[in-house]
């Protein structure tokens, strides 16, 4: 997507201008409702006297956001990631001016658009068309602007057929589409996006991204999401938040995402199905080069070799072992070929041990986990099924998002 040279001189003169500047932003919240309300009364009173005093934590309060600093220019996108309750949405509310920080300040230049809730101001009784005007008005459009854009909005939302139906009869997806269609008409200098794109079907999400791609060159975006592929796709700066503080900040988006995922590394394997005939005694990555906090590591292109040790409780034939590889988002990325009936599998009375080798692993950098299905040969009916049996990490210099980095040879054509 090439940004077209624009005649709007605003874009030319302010190219490198900082649009958002946050300095030491902090916000505290109260854990108890009654106390919170009473503090609210006190804050009302201190608001009237100017709020000059430093704010300390009062009893039952905690810092929901603590000392966040960043600068954002036009065309840049800042990703905010972190687990639930890390303070991301609170930070967004401060940036959007909905609540005031308890310390620090934020300076924002230009028109701010916020995709925090789509379809704000919708009234369920009224028709889609009427609600376009309501939502548009809340987002700061004038009547003339909406009049000019209403047809475009209806087409974008793809709900022309139902536009005069009360919104309460809309499906949730239709409401979100209509809400986004209105919001997409904003031409903000700063755009704040909070997880709204998670809803909706694939077609809608693709459409959203097309829109965001289109406005990104002219806008400074702050993007909150739990969807790491999305974050890595559009962000060029990142803050990883944890309990209100910034754990990692910088332009190395992939590293932040890695750090984010390691918080969720879950070493508990779980047995999904077990008919009592076989159990796993031990599995190890016998080709591991090194270990980092218990996770075996391989270089990209190494051999991937597992050693399995099983115990049998019933006399069964040598079963089939299917090993599935999952990435950190729990997407299955590969299955190891099981059809090569291993001649080497020893059925030593009640024990089975074997090694499983995949040469030249080309998975991209990251942490992966494996799941195993043990099943009867011909019928494939399961004996045992275990998820998250073990994790391993692939090391490589290149940060890429697709699960595979495939080896290539360039030659003269």
């Amino acid at each position: 997507m090439n940004p077209q040279p624009t005649t709007d001189n605003r874009d030319l003169t302010t190219d490198t201008e900082i649009l958002v500047k946050a300095e030491g932003l902090s916000k505290k919240f109260c854990k108890d409702l009654k106390t919170s309300l009473w503090y609210g009364v006190k804050d009302l009173a201190s608001g009237v006297t100017g709020n000059k005093k430093d704010r300390e934590l009062r009893p039952k309060e905690f810092w929901a956001v603590k000392d966040i600093n960043f600068e954002l220019r036009r065309g840049e996108c800042l990703g905010l990631i972190g687990h639930n309750g890390a303070g991301k949405s609170t930070l967004l509310k401060i940036l959007n001016g909905l609540i005031n920080p308890d310390a620090g300040k934020v300076t924002i230049k230009g028109r701010v658009g916020a995709l925090i809730e789509l379809g704000a101001g919708f009234n369920p009784i009224l028709s889609g068309r009427e609600n376009i005007y309501n939502n548009g008005a809340v987002l700061g459009f004038s009547k003339k602007e909406i009049d000019a854009k209403v047809e475009e909005i209806i087409d974008f939302a793809e709900i022309r057929e139902f536009i005069d139906m009360p919104v309460r009869n809309y499906s949730s997806g239709m409401k979100v589409r209509l809400g986004f269609a209105v919001a997409a008409q904003m031409e903000p200098d700063v755009l704040i996006i909070d997880e709204v794109l998670a809803v909706g079907d694939l077609g809608f999400i693709l459409k959203c991204f097309k829109t965001i791609d289109k406005i990104l060159p002219k806008t400074a975006i702050v993007f909150v999401s739990h969807n790491m592929p999305m974050v890595s796709r559009i962000c060029n700066q990142i803050i990883l938040m944890e309990s209100g503080v910034s754990k990692f900040q910088g332009t190395d988006v992939a590293e932040a995402i890695d750090k984010y995922y390691t918080r969720f590394v879950n070493n508990d394997s779980n047995v999904v199905f077990d008919d009592g005939s076989i159990s796993l005694i031990k599995v190890e990555l016998s080709s591991a080069r090194s270990f980092e906090s218990g996770i075996p590591q391989l270089e990209w292109g190494d051999n991937l070799e597992f050693a399995f040790h099983w115990k049998l409780y019933k006399p069964i034939d040598v079963p089939q072992f299917s090993v599935l590889i999952f990435d950190k988002e729990q997407r299955p990325v590969a299955i190891l070929d099981w059809t090569n009936k291993a001649v080497n599998i020893k059925n030593d009375n009640d024990k089975i041990s074997f090694k499983l080798l995949h040469k030249n692993i080309q998975l991209s950098k990251g942490v992966y986990s494996i799941s195993i299905l043990v099943s009867r040969g011909a019928t494939r009916s399961p004996y045992l099924r275990m998820n998250n049996v073990m994790s391993f990490q692939i090391l490589h210099d290149e940060e890429i998002w697709p699960p595979f980095l495939l080896q290539t040879i360039y030659s003269e054509g």
């Binding site: 001189n9 605003r10 302010t14 201008e17 649009l19 919240f29 919170s36 309300l37 503090y39 609210g40 009364v41 804050d43 009302l44 608001g47 009237v48 006297t49 100017g50 709020n51 000059k52 704010r55 509310k93 401060i94 940036l95 959007n96 001016g97 909905l98 609540i99 005031n100 920080p101 308890d102 310390a103 620090g104 300040k105 934020v106 300076t107 924002i108 230049k109 230009g110 028109r111 701010v112 916020a114 925090i116 809730e117 704000a120 101001g121 009234n123 009784i125 009224l126 009427e130 005007y133 309501n134 008005a137 809340v138 987002l139 700061g140 004038s142 009547k143 200098d189």
Partner: protein
């Protein structure tokens, strides 16, 4: 084009003048939003109802009917009001309902917009203006009804009737000012809203709504001091073409209301972030 710069920080700039200017300019720039919100609420309210607008004045009408019945059946003995009693009672209850609605309006509008307030930054003053629009809409119907009564009971046209809507605006200003002061704290504690509706029931009996000020006694003093008294009396006197006796007090009340209204507006503006923070964790 110079980009508008916004700074959000803990400290408020306590320049009353600047805050007020911002507040008023936001109010003007958000005219369309205010209108849209008012139209939305009015439409939605009546689209799902057959009796529609009747609900706006059914309470004052029934209250008036009760008092008319009490009076005509001799259950209570009321002093002479100077105009046919039904007109007195109807005008009283209709005006009273306008004032109570005005007092409740800022809080109701703000509270009704909770879900947007915590997600989108828009000029909050639009909520107040939309409340006033709704109020004017309901009031205009009540006024029309009252004018019908005035003619029906043979009081006829007086030139002062033309001033009557202006006096109503005064009543709305007074109610909105009171409501605006109570809104921030009322948004935090539900008690405030309950107290208002509870308290207003009593205040009504200390205001010449359905009976005139007694000639003597403690009630005379209370009613004469009650700042709502001149508002009700002056407005009614204008409607029925009598000499407004409390005109001076009415003008004093209004003169006090205007600066108080601006102060309440600033207070409201400062309070909103605190309220948003407390109502949406």
């Amino acid at each position: 084009m110079e980009l508008k710069t916004k700074v959000y920080q803990k400290e408020n700039n306590l320049h009353i003048g600047r805050l007020l200017k911002e507040s008023l300019s936001d109010m003007i720039s958000s005219r369309f939003l205010a209108r849209q919100l008012a139209v939305r609420d009015i439409k939605a309210q009546y689209r799902q109802s057959y009796l529609g607008i009747i609900w706006a004045f059914i309470t004052p009408l029934t209250t008036a009917f009760v008092w008319i019945f009490l009076n005509s059946s001799g259950t209570v003995r009321l002093s002479d009001t100077g105009v046919p009693y039904p007109v007195y009672a109807f005008s009283g209850t209709l005006l009273w309902s306008i004032i109570t609605e005005a007092i409740n309006s800022p809080m109701a509008s703000t509270s009704g917009a909770k879900s947007i307030l915590s997600k989108i930054n828009f000029p909050k003053e639009a909520l107040l203006v939309s409340g006033v629009y709704k109020l004017l809409f309901n009031s205009s119907i009540k006024i029309a009804l009252l004018v019908v009564f005035v003619f029906f009971y043979g009081i006829g046209f007086h030139w002062s009737l033309l001033l009557f809507p202006l006096a109503i605006l005064g009543a709305i200003l007074l109610g909105t000012t009171i409501g605006l002061f109570l809104t921030p704290i009322g948004m935090l504690y539900k008690d405030i809203g309950k107290m208002i509706s509870f308290g207003l029931k009593f205040v009504m009996y200390a205001t010449p709504v359905v009976y005139a000020i007694p000639k003597e006694g403690i009630m005379k003093t209370i009613m004469e001091w009650n700042p709502l008294t001149p508002v009700i009396l002056t407005t009614r006197d204008l409607a029925v073409g009598m000499e407004p006796q409390f005109l001076t007090y009415y003008l004093i009340v209004l003169a006090c209301c205007i600066p108080l209204f601006f102060i309440a507006l600033i207070f409201y503006r400062i309070s909103i972030p605190v309220l948003v923070e407390r109502m949406s964790a």
